[in-house]
Assembly symmetry: C2
Homo-oligomer: 877 residues x 2
């Protein structure tokens, strides 16, 4: 039996490993081996495999027999390759030790540099560098890094000693300390270690290496790493770390040395140009530390032209090899280039689209690969205006990034005033403590919305996202006085007419008018979307309540409306008729009020059907509890009573009567239509009269009437009968007949659990995952913010289930509902119309369950299209 | 092939059918045949089987070939047996026609009497009865009954003519009309029929019979009957009716004739004595009409001793034959006794127990049969005081029968005053618009609770049932002015100190002090309970929050506590410490306040553990949202702020901050303990310190700590860790170790759906079906009353799911949760602690799912014990 192999050498143009051995060697180790195989200049070293990590934990933290010998053997190889020796006074072997699992994972030990230094080796480092201060600073840093990370001495202990030293010397900056100060510090640091741990600081380089290795393996089992793995669904296997031991190279050895980071393409724009920064006579950490200003990498061409050419060529080769844009780290030691790391580079949404499309054009990748290269959510960055990154800004408050994009406008405090100013051609920002359905008109008129209260799923946030409008919500640092028409932020008073700018992607509220960049849906975006449409099978619809929303959504590629909320129409011009209906004592009175509403609804439906010609339009019957249509406080009640000519007393009583302790679980949804069938009848009449009107003009119309909040088949049956009877009446009156469906929203656990019964009569299901999440978790969106933040921050939940569908809990109801539903009606049309319809993971989940469509806000339609394509590609793998 | 048989003769000591043919002949027909077989004198007749009903509906309302011949044949047999002939002027054959399905079912046509009368037959009836007025009155009634039921002429048409007649004659009562008036009416009735239907009233008796038969079959398909069958889960087969055609006998033919109803045992007390009423010279309907006062059946012994002896003997034989108490109808015609019907008699709960136990003693039935003879819910009548049925009462208002029993006391309007007066020895009734958790003390002190608002599951109702205390809720006819300390009912003003009486079993509010009957848990009750305990396998626990509740429940046979709500302790003496905790800005402050609460909780737990020695006690950690502990209105806030020495402003802000839109879905349950682990820690400490204290005194203590409102395993893990760590600390401090379990309440759909994950760490599940019903249906108990009444009344839902467990929807979550839970932990202990735990159907459902226990209010423990035994017996069948 051959001895098991635990340690893998790399360097000198050949290696024991390669890029395919990511699981065994970790990402970093596999890429170092691969680069070495490709002939890329990599400082040699070796990787202790993740298998050792596994055995370490399986065998009560004992290492397998033979490991030590293999490490010794590889160290020997390394010493031979470099002509250096551990602890040598002339050419000491110095090492970096880094962790590296198959997937990048925070929480584990990062890096120990300069390992191998002791009171002998320091002499060698001084000799080689010719720089005593550098040598002792490296030694000081090594003791500090090792003492903290490996020996668990508090970081502050060392910082305290450093401060004392600076005070004693009367200097302010670390860099002002001289070589002998640093030499003294090395000893003070070692004494501190002795005092804290009871042991001498290890001087033996081999012992230092063993202890560093132990620390890496230990760190992979620490709570933060475990939590991260659990939260990110990283398997135990993929979470095991390797230990990378590599020869140190120094970029700070003079004018022909340096360090830098570079990208093979521009990570902001995606342009195919080598891009990056470097510093001459500096180590890697100096490039990012910001004390010296790095130079653009193109400048290297003037300083070390051969090195620059090598670097660009290596970058290009690596990109071609990995078939993706690379992010590389390099060090130049005495005019020799070394690559320390390569990995796929992070990029903006815009860059991702451009790189993906151009790489297809260059023949580097195929279209399907291109589609997987753009995180669907990142498209959001392309679809909204954004704050000019070069603009000078003053942040006056920060709220939640409730709806992305940016907006500039004058502050207004009422929806009415917003509408007036907008009508007069002004750009306005609507500032409210919180918004309510009555503010819809003003929200629509405003460029952006700012609220002091409410979370990511508050009314303002949900509506703004639906409108694709920038919104900063829950900005509790604002003191808004709506009556005085003013707010305070950072001690400054803002009144109506003052300009502010919102950044809905970060939650920043900015003073004054900041310049914005408008989105350009480049040709490459269109190309990628077309590829996505070729691949995907899931239909993408939109949630749209108005003809304008519908038109907008068509431009983003929506193939129908998945949710048209009719109550938004009730809040418009018809609001007083709605109130008359609510105040009616008898059915006849209620019907009279409803008759007034009919023409409003009908004309809205006509325009929506026109906008969605040829595509299905799902219309939900009235959903919110009636009290939402009535005023809340006394003054408003008095005002309304006078206006519509009812007694204040009566109006007050009705408001009181309709009050609910838990409106979310109250008299709403189909429960309204069942107690007051005349409401459903009026709505059905408006829908069918509109449909007939449009159809008669030769436009293809496909209405789907959706009954909300059904929990029991009897509820659906009763409402379905009202719709069908009304349809027949209208068809008879107009002597026309059109095709339509009647289905239901599945938004209660009971509906999913009894879906077979419901599907016997319902022709389609649309999961209302917002409400379904509320009832499945027993959490109200409006109230959960108080503890949900705490939950997500502390890892009780991985994410806010109102933003990302909870596949385990809510998802299992989606599965049960669809399976039971299709058991009763095999051709049942199934979709989703909650906010999750535009969230990529949720879209993929719906594809996996065999849904027919997802429906989301107009601005998220492109995201859903891409996610749907990715779902197909991922399922093929 | 023999001809199919559709018609079954009975009478003359032998019949075509018997009691086993209930499905084919209906209950009435089968019993008539059986009685005839037994030699009981039954007027002869025949039954058209339910098979005909089936064929009628299956074949587009056509009768099967051969039916007419069989009817003719049986009519001939009947005429021969009686020596009578259809339409005969001397001895006309007169019939009663009645419907009768396998199960008794309202909504179907009831009875047509005197069928066969026409202008010829009337002569025969006059001749036979010697009573012209009687004969015409019978004719008049026949035309009216037939006209209404068979020919669908409005009942009012006939009543109107009758009124006109009385007016014309200047009399007030029907009985004052004379023979010729009635004769005239017969013609007027027939004219009315002709006018309405366009056809002559049918004179041909055979045609009358066919039409009556048709009407019976038609009525079994009418909407009311269909709805009833759907609501009561009656299969199509069991819902089909037969038609019973039987010779008329007349109890109104003179001094040796009569009619009566009787029970073979006393249906109120269960005493084994023949019991009933009769009238001489009267028809059956006169006995119940109340115009003449019937005599006790014992009197018959003096009037017609032989008939009486026959009657008692027949009753006794029938009881022995059916092995159950019989409810019989009889008619005496000219000194000859006829039995018209026998069926198992309805009885009170008390009678049911006595009869069941005595019949076992008499050897009539076995114990298991006895257990099935008492509807479990009827035990409720035995367990509470009740209004003396002989008392004179004045009902001043009616509300919902929210908690059974009766109570007398002085009106009080505040919980505080209730406590004060009760402490002074007064009996009080707490009258509130609605109650809140702060009223607990006053509710406990009161004899009964009366509220103007809230449904069967309002706070008042739930708490009162838990306390076994009488409650009338949602009595909207009351005008309560809490500030003026008064209420108005029926225009009368009641103030503090006025006496009222509540009947919680009917919802009646009575004026003054009405005398009550105290429950006597007779020896027979104990005997039956002992038999139930022998049979059942399900454990019965109780929901008890106080030591008194716990003691009480033990007396009712509870085998442990399934739910001890600790927040009830928070509302007691510790309320101000609770408020300090809520107002605390920092953890240390919160801990200080909690330290004050610790001794209160500990001493309560000690007394509960003592009361439940040897039985498990499930204690739920804090559940309600914190705002429930704070005052709501300004005055109360001001008062509290002063008392506990905080600024009113601060208290107001905290109240505002804690406000929730949907408290049911808000920051409550384990979400409190996760954000404030120190609360759970204090509660765990109180539990374990109490347990150790009790255990050290040699009392067996079995604590089970239950974490509420868990939706995700992580929530449970975190809370479990706090409990386990605290237990270990207390065990170390006290040098004692006791066994305990940590489990969770399953009250959210997500918990049931992910039960396998949760059971990996939880040692028991207890379904909180109140909350689970709310979230599964998306209906709040507090708000649902507004539409749930409408739902149940109109058959949208069969029943209120907060009262009877929804087996289809909520039940499927119970099943999913238990199966998944036990897949992860085969010995998982599973129970239910919602209100449904004391509802017999739900108890049986839980038995079917293999639960270990149900837990319910102390007063429902005997009901659950009996239901659990019945579940076993029914499963054996």
């Amino acid at each position: 039996m051959p001895k098991p192999k635990y340690v893998y050498f790399f360097g000198g143009g050949e290696s024991d490993g390669d890029a395919t051995m990511r699981t065994l060697l970790g990402g970093k180790g596999a890429n170092l081996a691969e680069m070495s195989n490709l002939g890329v200049p990599v400082p040699p070293g070796f990787t202790i495999s993740t298998e050792v990590c596994k055995l370490y934990y399986e065998n009560d933290k004992q290492y397998p027999a033979g490991l030590d010998e293999q490490i010794d053997e590889n160290l020997g190889k390394l010493e031979a390759a470099l002509g250096a020796k551990f602890g040598d006074t002339e050419n000491p072997l110095l090492l970096s030790v880094r962790s590296g699992a198959a997937v990048s994972m925070p929480g584990m030990m990062d890096t120990i540099l300069n390992l191998g230094l002791n009171d002998n080796a320091i002499k060698g480092l001084i000799a080689r560098s010719g720089n005593e201060r550098f040598a002792y600073d490296s030694y000081r840093r090594f003791v500090q890094m090792f003492g903290n990370v490996v020996l668990n001495v508090d970081h502050d202990e060392f910082e305290h000693l450093l401060e004392e030293k600076k005070k004693a010397k009367g200097v302010e900056l670390d860099t002002e300390l001289e070589a002998d100060d640093l030499e003294a510090l090395v000893n003070e640091f070692k004494n501190a270690v002795k005092q804290r741990t009871g042991n001498d600081f290890p001087d033996n380089p081999r012992q230092q290496l063993d202890m560093a290795r132990d620390a890496v393996f230990e760190s992979s089992g620490n709570p933060r790493a475990i939590t991260y793995r659990r939260l990110n669904d990283i398997s135990e296997e993929m979470g095991r770390t390797a230990v990378n031991v590599q020869a140190m190279v120094f970029g700070n050895m003079g004018g022909t040395s340096g360090s830098g980071v570079a990208f093979t393409r521009n990570p902001s724009t995606g342009a195919n140009q080598f891009y990056g920064e470097f510093l001459i006579n500096a180590q890697g950490e100096d490039v990012v530390a910001g004390i010296r200003t790095p130079l653009p990498v193109i400048e290297l061409r003037n300083i070390l032209p051969d090195v620059y050419d090598d670097l660009v060529k290596i970058g290009s080769n690596l990109e071609t090899h990995y078939r993706d844009m690379q992010d590389v780290e390099f060090t130049i030691q005495d005019g020799t280039l070394y690559m320390l790391q390569t990995r796929n580079g992070k990029r903006t949404g815009q860059a991702a689209v451009r790189i993906a499309v151009e790489m297809v054009e260059e023949g580097l990748i195929d279209k399907e690969t291109a589609l997987t290269r753009v995180p669907a959510n990142d498209l959001d960055q392309l679809l909204h205006p954004s704050v000019d990154p070069d603009a000078q800004v003053e942040v006056i408050a920060q709220g939640l990034p409730a709806s992305p994009g940016a907006a500039v406008g004058k502050v207004v405090f009422t929806a009415l005033h917003a509408e007036e100013l907008a009508a007069a051609g002004e750009k306005v920002i609507l500032v409210r403590t919180e918004t309510s359905p009555e503010d819809i008109g003003g929200m629509d008129a405003a460029e952006g919305i700012l609220t002091a209260r409410g979370g990511m799923t508050s009314h303002a946030a949900v509506v703004a996202r639906g409108m694709g409008k920038c919104c900063v919500a829950g900005c509790s640092a604002l003191f808004i006085n709506e009556e005085a028409l003013e707010f305070y932020a950072e001690g400054k008073r803002y009144t109506e007419g003052d300009f502010i700018t919102l950044n809905g992607s970060t939650g920043d509220v900015l003073d004054g008018q900041v310049s914005l960049i408008q989105p350009e849906l480049s040709g490459q975006f269109g190309t990628l979307m077309a590829w996505a449409d070729e691949v995907r099978s899931l239909n993408i619809r939109t949630n749209a309540d108005t003809p304008d929303d519908a038109k907008n959504a068509r431009q983003f590629g929506a193939e129908g409306i998945g949710l048209c909320r009719t109550e938004h129409m009730f809040f418009g011009t018809g609001i007083d008729a709605v109130r008359e209906m609510i105040l009616a004592d008898e059915t006849a009175e209620r019907e009279a009020a409803l008759t007034k509403l009919l023409p409003h609804q009908r004309s809205d439906f006509i325009r929506i059907f026109e906008a969605m010609a040829g595509y299905p339009v799902t219309i939900r019957t009235l959903d919110p509890p009636l009290h939402e249509f009535l005023p809340k406080n006394e003054a408003e009640i008095r005002e309304l009573a006078e206006r519509i000519g009812v007694e204040t007393q009566k109006l007050s009583e009705r408001v009181e009567e309709l009050h609910e302790f838990n409106p979310m679980l109250g008299h709403r949804g189909c429960r309204l239509g069942i107690v007051y069938p005349e409401i459903t009848e009026m709505q059905a009449r408006a829908i069918f009269e509109a449909a007939v009107d449009v159809a008669k003009r030769g436009i293809n119309v496909l209405p789907e009437i959706m009954i909300p909040l059904v929990g029991h088949i009897n509820e659906f049956s009763l409402q379905r009968k009202v719709v069908v009877d009304t349809a027949e009446t209208v068809f008879k009156e107009t002597n026309t007949r059109i095709e339509y469906l009647v289905g239901t929203m599945i938004e209660l656990p009971r509906a999913a659990l009894t879906a077979d019964k419901i599907a016997a009569e319902a022709e389609f299901f649309s999961y209302g995952t917002n409400d379904l999440t509320q009832t499945t978790f027993g959490m109200s969106r409006d109230d959960a913010a108080k503890f949900l933040d705490d939950y997500v921050r502390n890892g009780v939940l991985e994410y806010d289930p109102f933003q990302i569908l909870d596949q385990e809990g809510v998802g299992s109801l989606l599965q049960i509902g669809s399976e039971k539903g299709r058991s009763a009606r095999p051709d049942l049309k199934v979709g989703i119309c909650g906010e999750h319809g535009g969230e990529p993971n949720s879209v993929k989940f719906c594809y996996g369950l065999g849904f027919n469509y997802v429906s989301c806000s107009p601005f998220r339609v492109p995201i859903a299209r891409l996610a749907a394509a990715q779902a197909v590609i991922e399922a093929e793998d």
